[in-house]
């Protein structure tokens, strides 16, 4: 990892080096903040970006994606891989944690998902350490913190006059070096100067081990209680930075068609409904158990990291007002 310090104006100049990359930043559009392509001139001087309404996953794992085109009555297929290079600036450390969870699923567990891989290779993710806590966010309660590199290629720290960049991407390091007034190799991200990072007494959340969570699998009463106000919509899962479940569907036009991948949600009944009519997760109770344990037990089991980033989006959007922090506490009460 390289830690670089740049003067503010030099930092913006340095971004000029990335001319072959399309620049994406969070931008407000009415009530929503979306990742939008933008020009270098339109970047805010103070490098402050609002948190995106949806999660950052869409940059690597869009809600809708064509995997390949095909002819229906002849053996002909043509995969569609995206080659566009993107520099994504202004996401949060929690977004980068979400990307890490996605990377583990799509890249680290065999087989490798070529679509995700290609996008990841073509994307430079530069996050910015949070200058304040957002409504309902709780990454500090999960031990993640608003100043961590997580799955990003680099993170920017506001050092007042200067900009600090901690980079683990060779491309980024190489291009920024020439503009930095100081740079050094670092082993550990805690060694670097981070400027003012927001601190508060984190709310204590009892996070159990994956095994302890798994042991709660047949606590029907618990899952029933938690799921009882749930409406079974997908707003939490579609906005969640770590939810990666998807559906595959064919879309046709005359003799040709394409296979499309779209988001799917474990909160939908159809998600697991088998053609025979049998549904292994027939009620919201089983679906909630799946959603919770996937994040807090299965992902930690399989990938070694927590499947929740603490971004708080699910809390904000839940039409039934279900608060994941309280769910975490409720679940812990059942610990044996």
């Amino acid at each position: 990892m390289l830690f670089l310090k740049l003067k503010r104006e030099n930092f913006f100049q340095a971004l000029g080096e990335f001319s072959e990359y399309a620049l994406y930043v969070p931008r407000r559009e009415g009530e929503r903040v979306l990742l939008k392509e933008t020009s270098l001139q339109d970047l805010p001087e103070n490098l402050y970006f609002e948190r995106t309404t949806g999660s950052a996953k869409e940059i690597l794992f869009p809600q809708e994606e064509t995997l390949f085109y095909f002819k229906r009555y002849e053996p002909l297929e043509r995969p569609k891989l995206e080659d566009r290079k993107k520099l994504v600036l202004g996401l949060r450390p929690c977004d980068a944690h979400g990307i890490q969870v996605l990377e583990d699923n799509f890249l680290n567990l065999e087989p490798v998902d070529v679509y995700f891989k290609r996008r990841r290779e073509n994307t430079l993710l530069v996050t910015i350490a949070c200058s304040q806590f957002e409504d309902n966010c709780f990454c500090d309660s999960l031990g993640l913190g608003p100043d961590r590199l997580n799955g990003a290629d680099a993170i920017i720290y506001d050092l007042r006059e200067a900009v600090g960049v901690l980079s683990r991407s060779a491309i980024l390091s190489e291009k920024l070096k020439g503009y930095a007034f100081q740079f050094q190799e670092v082993e550990n991200e805690d060694q670097v100067e981070k400027g003012e990072v927001p601190r508060r007494d984190p709310e204590q959340l009892p996070i159990l081990s994956p095994e302890e969570y798994l042991a709660l699998i047949s606590e029907d009463k618990l899952w029933e209680k938690i799921s009882s106000p749930c409406l079974g919509c997908a707003s939490c899962t579609y906005l969640c930075p770590t939810c990666y479940c998807f559906d595959l569907q064919d879309v046709t036009y005359g003799p040709v068609g394409k296979r499309v991948r779209t988001y799917d949600s474990c909160m939908f009944g159809l998600y697991t409904l088998e053609a025979s009519g049998h549904n292994p997760r027939p009620t919201l109770k089983e679906r909630w158990r799946q959603r919770f344990l996937h994040k807090f037990s299965y992902i930690p089991f399989l990938e070694g990291i927590l499947g929740c980033t603490g971004c708080g989006r699910c809390i904000e959007v839940c039409p039934a007002g279900i608060d994941l922090r309280e769910v975490i506490k409720d679940v812990a009460k059942f610990k044996r």
Binding site: T237, L239, F268, V317, E326
Partner: protein
């Protein structure tokens, strides 16, 4: 409305009616209300009702077909219950309606930057928020949902128990004005407006799930045979989804605004819904959810209904909005 009145009435209803559960609200840690299912009279101490509620509780009723259920009901919820009864989803005998006065519900989205703050209390015409130890008093009327600003029936239409207290005065106007403004646009501009709204939709179906009238076990939007539209959120696909849902609710929607408040992307659902209801009213003089025993407007007909078909009697006075 007094808290102890609410608590004691609910407790009384629970015991007198032998309820299995009672649908109400409780305060979340931010002070805003959230739905809660109360299964024991003792737990009712937490029950609460104020303008920070969002979801229409009648949405939960079809889940409890075999249970005796109590429910807190302001005007819109009581009307939803009437429709659910009329459409055979629940029995009148199984629901105990605890009518509550309604001063309108807050649209959290309108709080904008203030969102996420703690709600401290409600006063006569205002409410107090706290953010980072700073308190602010805001005028309630400025933050009410669009649906509540055009609510003709804030007080419960039917009830078994009634909690006393002031309700907002029935008023039409807000959405009616919005509709009028929209109809002044050219059709092309209107289509563009609705397409832009549809583009926001992420197809999470929160609107459908938050709607008491969307109780179908399987929804056309997820049908695979035939597949009406794609699961992918393409603009026209989204438009078909929104439009068809609205059509299915024409003359059934009580305009409670539950779907609109549930939408994570802030799609304008109310304009279409209000227009559909207005059409039904102007064509058939029908208002949903006011009388038990009534059939839904599109589930019946009269011989003398207006007829705008080619080759039919009437072609004059055809309502079109351009």
């Amino acid at each position: 409305m007094r808290q102890d009145d609410l608590f004691l009435t609910c407790q009384k209803a629970f015991q007198e009616r032998g309820l299995d559960l009672l649908l109400g609200y409780e305060k979340s840690s931010s002070g805003f209300l959230r739905p809660a299912v109360f299964t024991a009279p003792e737990s009712l101490e937490r029950i609460s009702w104020d303008p920070s509620a969002s979801l229409n509780l009648a949405t939960y009723l079809p889940r409890f077909k075999s249970k005796k259920v109590g429910i807190l009901a302001p005007g819109c919820v009581s009307r939803s219950i009437i429709i659910l009864i009329n459409e055979g989803q629940i029995n009148r005998e199984q629901v105990t309606i605890i009518g509550v006065p309604c001063r309108g519900l807050i649209e959290k989205r309108k709080l904008g930057d203030l969102e996420g703050v703690r709600l401290v209390e409600f006063r006569d015409v205002s409410f107090v928020l706290e953010k980072e130890n700073q308190r602010r008093e805001l005028n309630l009327e400025d933050y009410l949902s669009e649906s509540c600003l055009s609510c003709a029936y804030p007080a419960p239409v039917i009830y078994d128990y009634l909690i006393q207290g002031p309700s907002r005065e029935g008023s039409k106007g807000f959405l009616e004005k919005r509709i009028k403004d929209l109809t002044r646009l050219s059709p092309e501009e209107r289509l563009l407006y609705f397409k832009r709204e549809a583009e926001k939709c992420i197809r999470c179906y929160a609107c459908r799930q938050a709607c008491p009238m969307c109780y179908c076990e399987s929804c056309f939007v997820e049908s695979s045979e035939p597949r009406w539209l794609q699961a992918a959120p393409e603009p026209v696909d989204n438009l078909i989804w929104l439009l068809t849902r609205v059509y299915h609710l024409a003359g059934r929607c009580v305009q409670c605004g539950s779907c609109s408040r549930a939408c994570p992307e802030g799609v304008d659902l109310m304009s279409l819904l209000a227009w559909a209801n207005q059409s039904v009213f102007e064509l058939f003089q029908y208002q949903p959810g006011l009388k038990i025993g009534e059939k839904p407007a599109l589930g019946e007909y009269r011989l003398e209904d207006p007829d705008f078909f080619w080759g039919g009697g009437q072609t004059e006075g055809k309502k079109c909005c351009s």
